[in-house]
């Protein structure tokens, strides 16, 4: 199995799709000569030329809006929105337009648009470049939402996103770009809406996304030394959500911790907690715990940022609480 970084895996999915399919192209700010602000599209301009690796003006609304138009014309555009914080500038196009186009034509057109965006804290980017806003998008019927945490998942899920006939928002986490991992020799899609069980366990299920998958795995290692057996589940696709895998895991372990980097309040974890209490109520031995950022803007100062965002120790503490060992 070849090993790729998370960044290379994402690039590989895009490049391979563009080699196989003339309808696929990428568009975004500074993605051509510069290769994107995170270097994800580096080298693609040389291979595919400026029409298919298209630098755009600084216009998030038009990047997503033109992506919709191009998708309706029969293309499979991949648009890059440099920071997910900047998705706020494109929300009308996503929520009102991309998500509604198929519905408002009675299912007669499709919008096979992939919006790649990245974000996350842990490198001190400040309050306007560090947020995890994925919960905003989960409230909108008509789109799919993906959040990959490993190179193999990133490549397979992006491949499926590109070839999905619905608009897909594909979240990448800034701190994972250099993470290296094995990927299958042949590129292949990973079905959207299927979770991955990273680690099996008997006592507690951690449902984690993005960077917190890795924090959860660290917490699981430490918990094991305490004699607590932890299962770690990464939903990978947040919309639609693989409820079956999550619920089956909790029915087995009887305890559940949900961990994400976004703020806890009204977050993805609240939805998972609701699903678990509804579908596994009789199995639960402890209240569902939620781990996430404190309800504050992400600060620029590194020491303050560390204070606000969740880490492995926070996940471990939540695991211990579910075991009555706090």
């Amino acid at each position: 199995m070849p090993a790729l970084t998370y960044r290379e895996a994402i690039r590989d999915a895009m490049s391979e799709a563009m080699r196989r399919d003339d309808d696929v192209f990428v568009m975004g700010e500074d993605i051509a000569e510069m290769g994107g602000s995170m270097g994800v599209t580096q080298g693609m301009l040389d291979e595919f030329g400026p029409d298919r690796v298209r630098n755009t003006p600084i216009s998030e609304m038009a990047i997503v809006g033109a992506g919709i138009g191009a998708a309706v014309s029969g293309m499979r555009p991949i648009v890059e929105v440099m920071y997910q914080d900047f998705m706020t500038l494109a929300m009308e196009q996503l929520v009102q337009q991309a998500a509604k186009h198929r519905f408002m034509s009675g299912g007669q057109i499709k919008v096979p648009l992939t919006i790649r965006t990245q974000g996350g804290a842990g490198w001190s980017p400040g309050a306007q470049h560090a947020q995890q806003l994925e919960a905003w998008f989960l409230h909108v019927p008509g789109i799919k939402v993906v959040f990959a945490s490993t190179p193999a998942d990133a490549r397979g899920l992006l491949w499926s996103s590109i070839y999905d006939d619905n608009p897909v928002v594909f979240f990448e986490h800034r701190t994972l770009y250099n993470l290296k991992g094995d990927v299958p020799a042949e590129i292949d899609g990973i079905e959207l809406g299927r979770a991955r069980v990273h680690r099996e366990g008997e006592d507690v299920t951690i449902v984690a996304t993005g960077r917190l998958v890795h924090e959860a795995l660290k917490a699981a290692e430490e918990a094991e030394q305490d004699g607590i057996s932890v299962e770690v589940v990464d939903p990978r696709t947040l919309l639609p959500l693989d409820e079956e895998t999550i619920v089956a895991s909790v029915r087995k372990t009887s305890r559940c911790v949900v961990a994400h980097e976004a703020v806890v309040r009204m977050g993805f974890g609240a939805e998972v907690a609701a699903i678990v209490q509804h579908q596994a109520f009789d199995y639960l031995d402890a209240p569902v715990e939620r781990v996430g950022a404190k309800f504050a803007p992400i600060p620029f100062a590194p020491v303050m940022e560390e204070y606000v965002i969740p880490h492995a120790e926070d996940v471990l503490a939540a695991v211990r609480r579910t075991m009555g060992k706090d």
């Binding site: 003339d22 309808d23 192209f25 029409d51 298919r52 298209r54 755009t56 003006p57 216009s59 609304m61 038009a62 997503v64 809006g65 033109a66 992506g67 919709i68 138009g69 191009a70 998708a71 309706v72 014309s73 029969g74 293309m75 555009p77 009308e92 196009q93 009102q96 337009q97 998500a99 186009h101 198929r102 519905f103 408002m104 034509s105 009675g106 299912g107 007669q108 057109i109 499709k110 019927p141 008509g142 799919k144 999905d164 006939d165 619905n166 809406g193 639609p240 959500l241 409820e243």
Partner: protein, 345 residues
Amino acid sequence: MAQVLPAEHDVRRIIGDGDGVADGEVEGLDDAALLDLYRAMVLLRTYDERSVVYHSQGRVGTYAIFWGHEAIQAGSALALADEDWIFPSYRESAIGLLRGMTPETVLSWWRGHPAGWWNPREFRIASITVPIATHVPHAVGYAWGARLKGESACALVYFGDGATSEGAFHEGANFAAVMRAPVVLLCNNNQWAISTPLSAQTRAEFLADKAAGYGMPGVRVDGGDVLAVYQATSEALARARAGHGPTFVEALTYRCAPHVTADDPTAYWDAQRVERERENECLGRYDRYLRRLGVLSDELAEDARDDALERMKSGIAAAEALPPPDPEVVFASAYVDPPPTLREG
């Protein structure tokens, strides 16, 4: 580099006034084509007038009136090639009638029935996006996508004067110019955005001047003159198809009907101006032009009107005869592959 050209300020006109201002003509439009434009305008006018009546009878919902805008709509739509796409605002809700759509479909749209969801690919007319100007980037993306596919199709996007204040207009226009997208930006400047007059919308003297800022040509045309609109749109399309990028066309008119059926404009408009504008409305002007030319007779005019009325009559009857929709349709069409877990909410 794109050239930054000053926009034209003179308002283009073809139709004279039957008095001191002589009639012009559009090269390439024979009598049959002139009458096609006439019939298109009559059909739109009839659709609009009947819709207001149907609304008052409770047979269609709130309706965006386009009385007096028929020259802009027919003049531009008939300049398009079949393959070109139209991106309408709600003011152009019935533009599909000019591409073979039945009144039943458009009336169903205003009745809130799924039968009103036309197939955008069949008619090359995008679904109407009601928020203002948000479809400008779609038209640009469509045109760019078609260009990437090696097709010669262009896009025509309609929006009002108020839309030029929106960010989506700015981003879309700039995008179009930078990408040299084959798109025509057609601004229906009827001088009102609901109750806000143009003078409170912008300090720019002419909306067409905005084009210069994007490095694209801007032209002003009399929106009550169907031939001038046809000619300006044709020129813009030829430019787009030749790979020279977008054009901003400002079609000047005056909204002398309420914004929508739910609006009472007496609170804000100038009744005397409205009266004057109504006397000079576009269909009457074109009717008189064609008669001066000897192309239109009473018989032809009556036939156009009767045909349009008949289509409306059967359209509303067919729309009203449709069974109520199955609510399950909401799940069938939001996703290509509706996820089963999402039905619960």
